[in-house]
Symmetry: C2
Subunit: 479 residues, 2 copies
Amino acid sequence: MDEQKKMVEEITSMEEDFAKWYTDIVKKADLADYSSVKGCMVIRPYGYAIWENIQRLLDARFKATGHENVYMPMFIPESLLQKEKDHVKGFAPEVAWVTHGGSEPLQERLCVRPTSETLFCEHYAATVHSHRDLPKLYNQWCSVVRWEKTTRPFLRTREFLWQEGHTAHATAQEAVEETERMLGVYADFCEQDLCMPVVKGKKTESDKFAGAVSTYAVEAMMHDGKALQAGTSHYFGDGFAKAFNIQYTDKNNKLTYVHQTSWGVSTRLIGAVIMSHGDNNGLVLPPAIAPIQIAILPIAQHKPGVLEKARELKERLGKSFRVKLDDSDNSPGWKFAEYEMKGVPLRLEIGPKDIEKDQCVLVRRDTREKTFAPLSELEAAAEKLLAELGASIYKAAKENMSKRTYACQTMDEITAALDKNGDGFVKAMWCGSEECEDTVKERTGVGSRCMPLGQESAGGACVCCGKAAAHLVYWGKAY
Amino acid sequence: MDEQKKMVEEITSMEEDFAKWYTDIVKKADLADYSSVKGCMVIRPYGYAIWENIQRLLDARFKATGHENVYMPMFIPESLLQKEKDHVKGFAPEVAWVTHGGSEPLQERLCVRPTSETLFCEHYAATVHSHRDLPKLYNQWCSVVRWEKTTRPFLRTREFLWQEGHTAHATAQEAVEETERMLGVYADFCEQDLCMPVVKGKKTESDKFAGAVSTYAVEAMMHDGKALQAGTSHYFGDGFAKAFNIQYTDKNNKLTYVHQTSWGVSTRLIGAVIMSHGDNNGLVLPPAIAPIQIAILPIAQHKPGVLEKARELKERLGKSFRVKLDDSDNSPGWKFAEYEMKGVPLRLEIGPKDIEKDQCVLVRRDTREKTFAPLSELEAAAEKLLAELGASIYKAAKENMSKRTYACQTMDEITAALDKNGDGFVKAMWCGSEECEDTVKERTGVGSRCMPLGQESAGGACVCCGKAAAHLVYWGKAY
C-alpha cells in the first residue's frame, strides 16, 4: 500500500490548487508532455487514444448528417487570408508565418492555417456552379496553429488538433438550419458521450468569430465554476461568398451567392473532460471515450489458475469492451492507484477465492463501489455498471452546474453571489450595448458567455444600466 | 450515349501521354484539385475517402503488431533538427521555415516537420529510463512538408499526408526485426489490399534515408514501366540515440543506448494505385479501398417499381458492402461512364425486365464482363466478383512487372533491353561502388532501386566495371 499512497500523494488536490491539480493529471495520467517546441504539446498514447475515440464518435455523427471529409493545404498565402476583411483582422495577429522554403525566401509569405475558411471558400468558388452542386457539406480533421502567449495543455496551445466543418448552401435558411444542426450534434455528443452537460447559446456581437454573422457555442462548466467553450458553430450569411465570389445559377438561371457555415471542436474537449469529471485520485473517463473501459487486475497472480482465468476473462470481455489485463509484477496497490489515475471506468479483480465462487469483483472508478458479479453474468453486469457510471458523472456535473448558476438582477447581486458561492454562471439580463457588457466584466469579473437558446427570459431591466433588456445572458469566467 | 462518349474523350489515353492520362484521372475522378497554395493539393471527398480506407486498414495492421498512435508538434526548432548531422544535411535544404509568430520575429526559427525523428528522439530521451520502458512502438498520422521544386498530385507535393512509425528497442537485433516486420506489413498491405505486387529490397548507401544505417523499401511497377517507392523502413542503429542521449538501464543496471527504427507510407500510395490499375476509362480501384464498392444504377427508373427495388437492394447490400445508389436524372450512359471513371469495382443494373426475372446485372469494372445474378444470391455473387476482380488486377500488375523485368549482364544489354521493351526493372549485378552506380545511371538512365531480399544472386561480374559483384540490384526510372 505504500506505493499507492505515494502515487496518490503526487497529485495536488483540486481544493488546494486547481490549476496544479489539472496539470498534474495531464502529466501523471500520461496524457501529454512538453517538448522543446514552446507552447505545443506531445500527445502521448493514452491521451491520443482518447482523441481517437472522440474522433470516431464525432466522425460517425458528421457522416450520419451527410458530411464528407476532405483535406486542404496547411498553408494560406497572405493575399488569400486578406480577402475577407473581418476575418484577416481577427486572425492575422496570431498566425505563424512561413517566409522561406529551403534556403530561398518566398515571394509571398504563407501563414500556417489558424482555421481554413479562406481555403474552403477558394475551393467552393472553383467547384460550385449550379444549384445541383449544393449543398457542399465538408469537414476536415487536421491541426491548426494560433500563436498564443500563454498556453496550457489541451486548453490553449499554439498547435492543436481539431475538426472544422465548412458548408455552402443555396439559401440563408438552409445555412441557418445547418448552423443549428451542428450545434445540436455537439451538444448531444457532449451530453451523451462525454457525460458533460452544456448550455447552448448565441454569442454576443463582441464575441463572434471573425467574419461571422452569428456564432453559437456550447458552454460547459468545470469543477471550479469556470466556463469552458466546448464547441462553436458559425453562420456566415453570404459575406465570405461575396468576398470570394462563390455563386451558383439557381433553378431560374439566376446567379446567386451561397450562404455558408463553419463549426469546430478541438482537443480542448480532453481538457473539458478532465475538469468535468476528474477527482483527487486522477482522471475519471466517460465510458464512451475511455481507451480502457475495464482494467483486469489478477489478485495473488502467482497462485495456480489465477492468470489463466484472468486471460480467459480478457479474451471474453474483449469481444464487447475495450479491456486491458495488467499481469505485470507491480503490486495490486500500485495497480489500483495507476488505473484510478488513468480514469479507467471499471476495475475487475479476480483472485483464488473469487475463482472458487465463480465470481469476480467489479469496482466503479467514480464511487469506488464494489460489486460481486457471477462470471456467468459478467458482460451484463459490466454493461450495467458502465451505464450507471456514465449517468452518475453526468448527474454530478449537472448538479455542479445548477448549484453554481446564480440568477442576479443587479451588479451588487452578482458580486455577492460570486463572493459567497465562488465562480459560476451568472444569469442576468442585458440591454445589448457593448458598453454595458464591458462594464459588467470590469466591475464583476465575469464576461458574457452566451445568450442561451430556448430559455425564456422574463424580460426586465439590464443588470448594468437598468434600461429595458431583451437578452438573457450567461456570464462567467472562461478557460 | 453522347454524354458517355464525351466524358470518355475527356481523358487522354495513356498510350498517347501517360503523364497527362494520370493528371486527367486525378482531376476527372474528383480525387484532388489545385489551389492558390503552390505545390500543395486539395484532397477532395472521393480522394480522401480512399485515404481513409488506407488509414483504417494500415492502422489495424499497426495496432495488431503492438503499435500505439501519438501526436508530436508540427514544428521543429532549428537547433533540434541540427542534433543528428546526417539527418539535418539531408533535410535542411528542403524545409519550410517559420520565422514570425503574429507580428513578432521568433528568437529561433522553426521548420515545419519534414519527418519527425528529432521530436520522437527528444521524447524518448525524456521518457525512456529502464529496460521496462522498452520497446517504444509509436506511430503518428499527420502531414509533413518538403519544399519540392517540381510537384505532381499524390506523387510529389510540398505537403503530403502520411504515417511515420518511430520505435526504440533494447537491442540492435530487436530493432532490425522491427525494420523487417514493418517492411513486411507494407508489402502485405500493398499486395493484399492494394492488389499491387512489390519487390522488397534494401537501398544502396547513396540512396539511404538521412541518418539511417540501412533503408529498406517496397518498390512497385507502374503501367509505364517506371518504379514507384511505395513505402520505406529504416534501421538507425544507435546513431540517433547517441546524438539525443537516449539511454536506459539494462537488467544488469548498465546504461545502454537504445536502437531505433522509423517507417512510413504516404498519400503517394493513391498515385501508385492509379498508375497500377487505371485504364483509359479512368480509375480502377481495389475493392478493399474503394469508397464505393458497388454502384447501383436503376434502368428506366421512371417505370413503376424500379426505384423501390433499387432502394431495397441498396439497403440490403449496404449491410455487407459500401454501396451507392445513383437515382439522379442523369442518363444511364452518363452514369456508366461516371462510375467507370471513379473506378467503382462493381456496377449493378436493375430494370423492369430484371425485376420480372428476380435478377440483376453485375458488371465488373476491369473486364466490363456482365453477370446475371439471381437476387436471392446477390451477396454471394457480389462477394465472388469483387474477389475475382482483386485477383485479376493483381495478376495483371504482376504480369506487367514480369514482362518488364530484364535480366542484363552488360551495359549494352541494359540499353538494348530498354530500347526494345521500354522502361522497366533491370536486374543486374553490382560491385558495390558508388562510381559504378553513378555510371550505370548516367549511361543507361536507370538508377538503383533496391537490392531485393530473398532473391538468390548467381554471383558474377558487375554490370559496369566487370569486377566481382556481390549484389543483385533492381535498377529503374523512378517516380
